[in-house]
Amino acid sequence: MNPLVLWFHKLGSPPYFYRFAGRLLPWFWGAALAGLAIGLYGGLVLAPADYQQSDAFRIIYVHVPSAWMSLFIYAFMAVNGFIALVWRIKLSETLAMAAAPIGAAFTFICLATGSIWGKPMWGTWWTWDARLTSELVLLFLYLGVLGLHQAIEDRRQAARAAAFLALIGIVNLPIVHFSVNWWNTLHQGDTVKLFGPSLIDSRMLWPLLVMAVATKFLFAASLLSRARVDLLELESGKDWARQIALAEERA
């Protein structure tokens, strides 16, 4: 077998993944914290003030990366849910369910910072604008997935049911993403573009991109930490988990 495929198959086994994630974790946490520090310093100190919004625009460095993450994590959760449902891979179930609370947290941060930003700029905490509403629905979808996962006794069945719900909810992702293009409402359109030049000065842009990468690492680190705990819990009857518990007790 191709060594890469072999490694991928091995990664699906909980004890192997547990050790592998344990080795990666310090690096991910380090990259996340360093990235957050650099990004926030760049955004809050080095970047020039906006000509219209002055210093109030700086909340963008928290708001926009969390908004990106809220969509990214949902997609991650749905893809893992799909893998869990089709190929019945235990690890994917765990990853999908470990991603849900992190995604819900990012969605909440996005909504809260947007609200704080909206008060001085738009004069209102909340408006029933297409993007805000669809982001709120995204939060409800996350909460629904979490609620369903909590409500079912059997852990694996709970993960499969919640993963299925996550898959159904994926219809909301394009709505959130394209809402500012489809409906012209209060929320501004995309300023940072993947293709073509962005509508933002490069001195303001680089901290934003650093923050985007840092939040990815933060997500990865948080996900792996949660998944490790979930795997231990799920496999608590197995030998490898017992040995880890015994080693912890001795230490």
Partner: protein
Amino acid sequence: MSYGSTTSACRALLQRDLSLVWRQRGDALNPVLFAVMVVALFPFALGPEPTMLARIAAGTVLVALLLAGLLSLDALFRSDLEDGSLEQLVLSPHPLALLLACKIAVHWLTTALPLLLVAPLLGELLYLPQPVLPVLMVALVLSTPLLSLIGAVCVALTVGMRRSGMLLALLVLPLYVPVLIFAAGACNAAQQGLPVLAPLLWLGAGLALALVLAPLACAAALRISLS
């Protein structure tokens, strides 16, 4: 061993479900009563001025029907799960999605259709402007089957649980939001004398998609929760 054709299975299922509802026809009126009461609460809460009630009439009727449908969703598989016939459906050699589509159709006929019939009355209670009524009815005809189909998928996910009421609402309502937006959009456009076709077409497209996909999704969800 012969099983009989899929058509006869569907017919038998329709017949069984309809006669079950007919034997408890008193219960079938409950969603209608619920919707009437919800609508009646609004004038109490907001005051009886006709102009204001007329402005919120279409939206209120939509939400009242949506909530009535939500409360009746729980009954979709409840009795079948209790007497074990749901497991027999899953085990049957006929396509489960088709059988579930029959069940959803019966559910729509027995809960949403009475609601549709009572909708003009509800509109009248809230002084709904006459020209908006046809648009509201078309929006309801398109959206209630859509709500039943989407709801059925979520019910299938929660089917084994003891206290699933609140959780079901939490799962279903976010998915209901787009339907409500388009149905209400059509009514608002009609109220302002704007063209109403676009949101209705969106609803129709959603219904066409859900008619095909929702029974399949419902079957998959049911297999997960009964496994």
